[in-house]
């Protein structure tokens, strides 16, 4: 292996993917090393070590040696990459119940390595561009899929029938929401745990991610449209969420 193989995949905007210059330089250095030296560098786990191999470079090596049919070396390299993956993957799928987390993890690994190891396709190119983002995207997609399955099995209380719609809470900031945002993040997340789904997500989307309950432009996303509920129902959810969070806050004091 001498010349660095160029990427061929075109992204969403039709432009050719390209590696970061530092990744290109590292690949140019590493491709001329003997195999034992390459393996030694893959085992360096300290990112501050100048000899640390970037994830994108590791992906390149896996794909090149796969093309060369060097299966034992590829297996070793894949194991090193897998060791680097678990942090990002677990931070997403680890938030599911154990049985769903295991399935989600397996799906992420399958999808990632299927793309990287398929030498007939350039679908693996993205992981030489931005491995961390690509991996997190797979992990979040798997989380989304399995969280829907998990929610379907959870016996959540139905808040749709709760009375108490207060027009005054229309788009006004819920007092508890602003208090949560000002609080320590881990404490805020613990508070949100007291809300089941889908109410926790609705609350978070509204007060942390700026989603409107109802968008002026029907073509834009809104809580009402996403959850397929009337704005009045969404407002009822927030009324009830406020009450639960106030109880939680009083319990902490």
């Amino acid at each position: 292996m001498t010349a660095v193989r160029p990427l061929t995949h075109r992204g969403a905007n039709g432009e050719l993917y390209y590696r970061r210059p530092e990744v290109e330089r590292q690949i140019e250095t590493v491709v001329s090393l003997p195999v034992p030296a390459v393996l030694e560098r893959t085992r360096i786990s300290n990112k501050d070590d100048p000899e640390y191999l970037k994830d994108e470079c590791l992906v390149y090596l896996i794909r090149e040696h796969r093309r060369a049919g060097e299966s034992t070396l590829v297996s070793d390299l894949c194991e090193q990459l897998l060791r680097r993956c678990y942090g990002i993957v677990y931070s997403c799928v680890g938030k599911l119940r154990a049985e769903f987390a295991e399935e989600a993890h397996a799906e992420v690994v399958e999808q990632l390595f299927r793309k990287i190891l398929n030498t007939d396709s350039d679908r693996g190119d993205y992981y030489e561009v931005s491995f961390g983002d690509g991996l997190k995207r797979l992990a979040l997609t798997a989380f989304g899929k399995y969280s829907h399955k998990q929610n379907a099995t959870d016996q959540n209380v139905d808040w749709d029938q709760f009375p108490g719609h207060d027009p005054g809470l229309d788009d006004a900031e819920a007092p508890v929401a602003s208090a949560l945002r000002a609080a320590d993040r881990s404490a805020a997340l613990e508070a949100l745990r007291t809300l089941g789904e889908p109410y926790r997500t609705a609350f978070y989307l509204r007060y942390y991610r700026g989603w409107p309950t109802e968008a002026a432009d029907p073509g834009k996303p809104s809580l009402s449209r996403y959850f397929n509920k009337t704005p009045k129902t969404i407002f009822n959810w927030f009324t009830h969420a406020e009450k639960k969070l106030v109880i939680w806050r009083e319990g902490q004091q």
Partner: protein
């Protein structure tokens, strides 16, 4: 036109969104939906999943033993992929038969007619004109990797087996025809089948790249 399926384009868009967006806030989501309105549902679901993850506390830290189990379970999947090779397909019809499908069943499951299945099997349809979604559908139906089906379809046209030729010269095969032309000329397709197949072949109908 058959470079990327819709699913592949969705992945490319989500990868780009993931990299460009520092967080799943509503304004950024709206910008990306305006850019790719055909993927509104996927972008929205992804942003919601991202927000759901953020709204949950960090999971408990894994012990070294648990981390090792995590890695080794992953290696089982990797080893399975490493030992899989894309097998060569010698015939779409044979690949279907291997799954217990007759030509008629293969046609039914892929939304094609027997005539079209035969033409694809003999590689009488120009590869570049075959919608990527159709190739994926064929691959799923015969339980082969899409790469293997693509390789097969890119081969040269073949004569029908069992044909008797009386001419002194060796028979030649007509150059492959365009998929759209083949669909329009196929007398065995219903109007609805024809409409669906032509829709696959339209720019954007197959998730053709949007500039």
């Amino acid at each position: 036109m058959n470079d990327y399926t819709r699913d592949e384009l969705v992945e490319d868009v989500l990868d780009a969104y993931m990299t460009a967006a520092s967080d799943p806030d509503w304004n950024t989501l709206v910008t990306w939906i305006e850019r790719y309105p055909q993927f509104e549902r996927e972008l929205t679901e992804f942003a919601v999943a991202w927000s759901r993850v953020e709204a949950l506390p960090e999971p408990p830290e894994l012990s070294p033993a648990q981390t090792e189990r995590f890695v080794q379970r992953g290696m089982v999947a990797v080893q399975r992929l490493l030992t899989q090779a894309s097998p060569l397909i010698s015939s779409l019809l044979d690949a279907g038969k291997a799954q217990g499908l007759s030509s008629k069943q293969l046609a039914e499951r892929t939304g094609l007619s027997i005539v079209l299945v035969g033409q694809l099997n003999q590689r009488l349809i120009r590869y570049a004109s075959i919608p990527g979604e159709l190739i994926e559908r064929l691959a799923r139906t015969v339980h082969q990797e899409s790469a293997a089906v693509r390789r097969y379809l890119q081969g040269g046209p073949i004569l029908a087996g069992g044909a008797l030729y009386k001419a002194n010269q060796a028979p030649t095969v007509a150059p492959p025809q365009d998929f759209v032309a083949a669909v329009r000329a196929d007398p065995m397709l219903s109007d609805e089948q024809r409409r669906r197949l032509l829709a696959l072949a339209e720019p954007g109908g197959d998730g053709a790249r949007q500039v």
